[in-house]
Symmetry: C2
């Protein structure tokens, strides 16, 4: 299992990506799902960025690969990756990010820096519990939680946004 990434701190990103891909291969094998070249490449691109990528960012990257891809190519790959818990869609950004808890059943939530655009995925039983409790009070049956917290990451609060390529600049 990939360790929780630390997008706010330096790390060996190539190894980080490779670990995520290795995990994905295993997860798909276990599920008898086919992590085809296109799907794997999309996942790799998402992990390489470590910041949420839009579908058309991915499309452009595939085009650079020489892959003559159209929007459905990307959206299909993203659907597959989401269904197998390998990526999450960030609704407030219309973008996709690698799941850092792939394989676990989990309800993630996201801390999204509005300045450097880094995203940190966390899981909090307390938060899940608070959601479930509030829902139960209304007799509402929870199926899917979308919890996206926008603000400033520690680095950006201190005026030193993390260096590195930002894919939407």
């Amino acid at each position: 299992m990939v360790s929780t990434p630390l997008p706010y701190r330096p790390h060996n990103h190539a190894a980080c990506v490779e670990q995520a891909l290795a995990d994905a291969r295993r997860i798909c094998t276990d599920a008898s799902a086919r992590l085809t070249p296109t799907r794997e490449r999309v996942l790799e691109l998402i992990w390489q960025s470590h910041k949420p990528l839009g579908a058309y960012d991915l499309l452009a990257a595939l085009t650079l690969d020489g892959h003559n891809a159209a929007p459905p190519t990307v959206y299909r790959a993203l659907d597959f990756l989401q269904q197998h818990g390998l990526v999450h869609r960030i609704a407030s950004l219309n973008a996709f990010t690698g799941c850092t808890h792939a394989g676990d059943h989990h309800t993630g939530f996201f801390l999204i820096c509005r300045q450097c655009h880094n995203v940190l995925e966390l899981a909090s039983p307390d938060l899940d519990g608070a959601v479930e409790q509030a829902a139960q009070a209304q007799k509402f049956a929870v199926e899917k939680s979308t919890i996206e917290i926008a603000g400033l990451c520690p680095a950006c609060q201190s005026g030193t946004p993390p260096e590195g390529t930002h894919c939407h600049e």
Copy 2:
């Protein structure tokens, strides 16, 4: 102040809408903000539906009014209404709903029925606290919370989805 709406139960909807509009007028007056006819009409349309409406749903409704509106007309009105806490955008639906706590400073969250598309806005200090605590543990400064819970409302769980017009049907 408008009482908490009960979208899952019958109510005098015309009075509900009128109350929301009266509240909005007062809030805007207090803030020296201009609730112009277009803005007020958009707010009225949103409240009349009592289910989230997309920007282009609103645009179509304005067109039916005889208002020769273009997309920016709607988005500008929505921006104004959001800035004054009169409507919320539901990111997971690309749609807008009337704020049931207008005037309060609050961090709302939403229970969204995937079947009847009713939305219930709630505020939960426990939930807010869990979010703030999880963020603080990462030294993340929260600015805006997007918490949208999808599932089934009580009526739809029991197989009797609330009657009434559904605007996206």
